[in-house]
Amino acid sequence: ADPVKIGFLVKQAEEPWFQDEWRYAEVAAKEKGFTLVKIGIPNGEKMMAAIDNLAAQKAQGFVICAPDVKLGKAVERAAKRNNLKVVSVDDRLVDGSGKPIESIPHMGISGYQIGKQVGEGIIAEIKARKWNMAEVGAIRVAYDQLPTGKDRTTGAVDALKAAGFPAANIIDAPQAKTDTENAFNAANIALTKNAKFKHWVAVGLNDEAVLGAVRAAEGRGIKADNMVGIGIGGAKAAENELNKPQPTGFFGSVMISAREHGYQTSVNLYNWITGKGTPPAEVLTKGMLMTRANQAEVRKAMGQ
C-alpha cells in the first residue's frame, strides 16, 4: 500500500492551542509511521485550497478544525471529490441548515460547555469568597464576530445567570481585535461606566482577553482580592500569570487538552485509512479548571 499521508488543518495556526494539537499529532505520526501535513486555514478560501493541495500531495485523509462550522458541506464535498477521509476536531461541522454532518466523525469540545465551566468556576469562587452577588460586576470581553468566541462567552454568562447572578450586573465589553490590548481598552471603559461595583469577575473567549480585563482592573486598583478572571486555554499566557510570585486577578483558566485532540484524532484517522476500524461518530472531551492551587495536577491529568 501507499505510505499513509494525513493532513491536519487548523483555523488559527498561530494559536498555541493549535500548535499543541499539531505537536501531539506529530507524536502520533512518529509512532504509527505516517506522514503529517500541517496547514493553517484562516478562512474558507484557504481551506478549499488546502484540501485541493492535500489531494495533490496524494494524502488519504485529513483532520480539520474549520474556520467556520457552516463550512461543513464544502468540506464534505471537497473531500468526496478528492476521495479523502475526514475527521473533524474541536468544532463540529454542520451543513447549511445547521445539522451536524453525519459522515464526518468528530472529536471535540463544545465551546458553550467550556464557557459554562468558566462560569461555574467563577460562581464557586464568588461563593468561597462570600461576595454579595449584587455587588459584583461581570465583564464579558466579547468578540461576537467569531462564532466560537460567542459560544464560549455565552456559555459562561449563562452559567452565571443560572446560579442567580443578576443579569443587570453583566457588562459587555466588545473588543475590536482578539488581543490583550484591545481587551484592555474595552474592559477599561466597562470599569469606568460601572464604578459602583465592589468586586469584579471577567470572562472572555481566551486567556488573552481575560488578561486584558485583569490588567485594566489593576490599573484602577482592583487587585487579586477583588477580581476573579477565568480564561480558556491554559497555555503559556495563563501559566505566566499563575506562576507570578503574587496572586493576580487572573484566577485560573479552563484548560482543554490539546493532547487528546491532536493525538487521538490522527490515530483514529490513521486507523480508518488503513482499515483498522472506523472512528466513533462523536467524542466530547471536557476541560478542567486550572488554578494556582492545582495547576500541577491539572497539567499532569491533561497530559502536558
Partner: protein, 325 residues
Amino acid sequence: MSTSQLNPVAAAPLVSRQWLSDYSMPLAYLVLFAVLSATVENFFSLTNVVGLMLSVAQIGMVACTMMLCLASRDFDLSVGSTIAFAGVLGAIVLERSGSVAIAVAAGLGAGALIGALNGVLIAYLRVNALIATLATMLMVRGLAFIVSKGQAVGINDDSFIDFGDTRIFGLPLPVLVAGACFVVFGILLNQTVFGRNTLAIGGNPEAARLAGVRVERLRVWIFLLQGVVTAMAGLILASRITSGQPNAAQGFELDVISACVLGGVSLQGGKARIFGVLIGVLIMGTVENVMNLLDVDAFYQYLMRGLILLIAVLLDQLKTRGERR
C-alpha cells in the same frame, strides 16, 4: 545619448533590454515554475496546478479591476468586505427566495452600490481614497455581520453550490471565470477608450481633464466595475464554501494589491499591464501552494512569504536599475 545611436547597431541592446524589461516577470515566473516542478514533489501534476489556479481564482478576478483602480491612481481597501457581504447577502436572499437568479442579482447589485459609493466619495466629494475605502470597508463588514447576525449563512441549493464545483475541460468554473476576467479586462485596458482614459487619468489627471476626459465619471465607473466583479468573486466563494461567511476574506485587499504591484502596476498610477497582474497573482498562489506542499512550519511560512515577495521585487528591480542613472 550620443550619435552612435543613429546607426541601427546600437539599437540592438536597447531593444533587447526593453524586451527583457517587458518580459522579466513572466520569465522569472517560468524559471520559478520549472525549478519548482523539478524539485518539489507533487508540484507539477494536473491536480496541483488546477488546485493552485483555483486557490487564486478570487484574487485573480478582483486583481483585474484593482489594476484599473490603481492605474487611475486610486486605491480600494473595501474589496475584502465586499466579498464577504456579497456572499452573505447572496446566501440570505437565496434562502429566502429560493431563486439563484435573484440571489446573484442581489449580490451583484450590492457590489455595484458599494463601488458606486466609493466612486462618488472619491471622485466627486474628493475624499482621500485610502480613508474613503477604509470607511466603506468597515461599514460593509459591519453590514455583513448585521445581516447575518454574525453567523455563517448556510446554502442548501445544489444548483448554486454546483457552480463552484463544476468542471469544464477539467478546469473548475471559478478558474474559467477568472480567466475570462483576465481576457475581458485585458481587452478593456488595451483595446478600448475606457482603458486608455483610465491610464491617462492615472498618468496625468490634469492632462486628461484638459483633453476633455470626464475624469469624475470615469472614476466612478471604475469603482463600480470593481464592486460588481468583487461581488461576483464573493458569490463564487460562497458557492465554493457552501455558505456566506461574514468574516470571509479579511486581509484580502492587501493580497490583491500586492499581486498587482508585484505584476508591475504602479501605485503612482498610469502604469498597468494585464499580463503582469496575471503573473503577480500566480506568484502569490504558487508561493502559498509550495509552502503547503513542502509542509513548511506555520511560523516559517510568514518568513518565507516575506522573503519570496522581496526576492520577486528585487529581481524585477534589477532590470529597472539599469535605466536609473
